[in-house]
């Protein structure tokens, strides 16, 4: 079974981003970029499926700027077999899903794994949209994935606890934080990954229009909280909460 994994290049999770001075976005000058953490989990899950003999080939796809080749190379170093970069900076989720749909039609994977959301736009849409466009069943926010007998059983993290669904293959899984702990790439594997095939494509190759449907008018910093105080004892804390903040009785 072929597994397709979608990955995204985003600002590193440890960077505290700042709004750009012109209020058109956030300032990403000289900011460290990385693979979206949920996508790392998606790659790891695919690699584990391959190690178990369930997956035979892992295709990693990114829709993003030219530099997203770095994230594809990282996935290749982690165990993916080949990559496709569709060059389109700032494509919105529906356009990304349409590009991925075209690739799914060509490649016919048995399973598609995406991260549940990217930590830049926080949209949480691409996986569900791709499932809609391909007619696949979707197991979103997955914390456990078991493939057997032409089906995949997915345990999902939901607001009240956990839910398990069963999907016919081909299906889509989107990863939550506790699905697995991604490994690090070894140096020999990083070297080997440089020789693995990576195709560069354009949205037009798939007939997809990536013009934004939703326009960003402005981006602002959230209202800042005013500085608080330090209290010395628990008594003082409780007194402040009762008499000053009046949030407890």
């Amino acid at each position: 079974m072929k597994v397709l994994v979608a990955v995204k290049r985003v600002v590193d999770a440890n960077v505290k981003v700042r709004v750009a001075a012109d209020n058109r976005g956030v300032d990403l000058t000289n900011v460290k970029m990385a693979m979206n953490p949920f996508c790392e989990i998606a790659v790891e899950e695919a690699v584990r499926l391959k190690e178990k003999g369930v997956a035979t080939e892992i295709l990693v796809v990114a829709v993003g700027p030219k530099e997203a080749q770095e994230q594809i190379r990282t996935a290749l170093a982690l165990g993916a077999d080949r990559g496709i970069l569709v060059e389109a900076a700032d494509a919105q989720p529906l356009a990304i899903a349409k590009i991925l749909k075209a690739i799914v039609d060509q490649e016919k994977p048995g399973l598609v794994i995406t991260g549940k959301q990217s930590i830049d736009g926080d949209n949480n849409q691409v996986g569900q949209m791709l499932a809609a466009l391909t007619g696949m069943g979707q197991g979103t926010f997955a914390s456990e994935v078991n493939v057997a007998d032409g089906k995949v059983k997915v345990t999902r993290e939901i607001d009240g606890g956990l839910q398990t669904v069963e999907l016919k293959l081909p299906a889509l899984v989107s990863t939550d934080l506790r699905l697995n702990e991604p490994r690090y790439a070894s140096l020999p594997n990083i070297m080997k990954a440089k020789k693995k095939p990576l195709d560069i494509k354009a949205p037009a190759d798939f007939g997809v229009d990536v013009a934004p449907r939703v326009k960003t008018v402005k981006v602002e910093a959230p209202a800042a909280r005013k500085a608080g105080i330090k209290v010395k004892t628990v008594e003082e804390l409780v007194a402040k909460l009762k008499n000053e903040a009046k949030v407890i009785q």
């Binding site: 709004v19 979707q138 960003t216």
Partner: protein
Amino acid sequence: MSVLVYAEHDNASLKAATLNVVAAAQKIGGEITILVAGSGCGAVAQQAAKVAGVAKVLVADNAAYAHQLAENVSALVAEVGKGYKHILAAATTTGKNFLPRAAALLDVQMISEISGVVNATTFQRPIYAGNAIATVESAQAINVLTVRGTAFDPAAAEGGSAAIENLSTATDAGVSSFVGEEIAKSDRPELTAAKIVISGGRGMQNGDNFSMLYKVADKLGAAVGASRAAVDAGFVPNDMQVGQTGKIVAPELYVAVGISGAIQHLAGMKDSKVIVAINKDEEAPIFQVADYGLVADLFQAVPELEKLV
């Protein structure tokens, strides 16, 4: 102008999150219809009809919708939603699961987790873990939106008398089935609805120590949450996680115990009215957002707190 609101429920009762979505719909303006999709969900429809400001309730009562499977629900919403200018759902794990799928079926670029309505086509939403607020505008024929509950005061649950209409539509996409679920049972209030939330982090050291927080919570009528670190370490289950990718809370009082204050955690609680941080590391970033900070060993401070409240 017409707005379709998707009801969040468990087939027995309407969830409070729906009231926040109705409030967002009221800000958008126009006639509000609530869609209840479920199985044996008649009582939910009755409750939805009483929500203030709602004109109509549509009910799709069918086994295919019993567990809110995204494949089935999204097909229904895309079909029913064609006649509306706006389709709204709560930004819960249910709404986040099916609504992007419905949007794609409608060929609409959805707008996730709005925190403000500027006008009927312009919305605000947090990006980058809430470190920036984007104002976005859409000229699409239909706007499909999830709504961040904490950003909108709930509409009144009583006072309306909407007409209830049954839909005969039933779609079973046939690609997915429900196997089972483990729902946490608790007598404490729901995290996203509680007026007081007490959360523990890695500093709690293990799951048993959370009993200290439960004791304080029970005296205050509070809900108990956790940081990602505490959930990842297996101290407590995932449904307790507060943060960028967990639950978003904005209670009157948020008490962070043994939580350092990673960006991703702050994203889930920094709109709380009053924030208290208890941490032995005075350099912990949580103190930068706390109204009241106590630098102390939580194993002494929390039992003391329990005695004093």
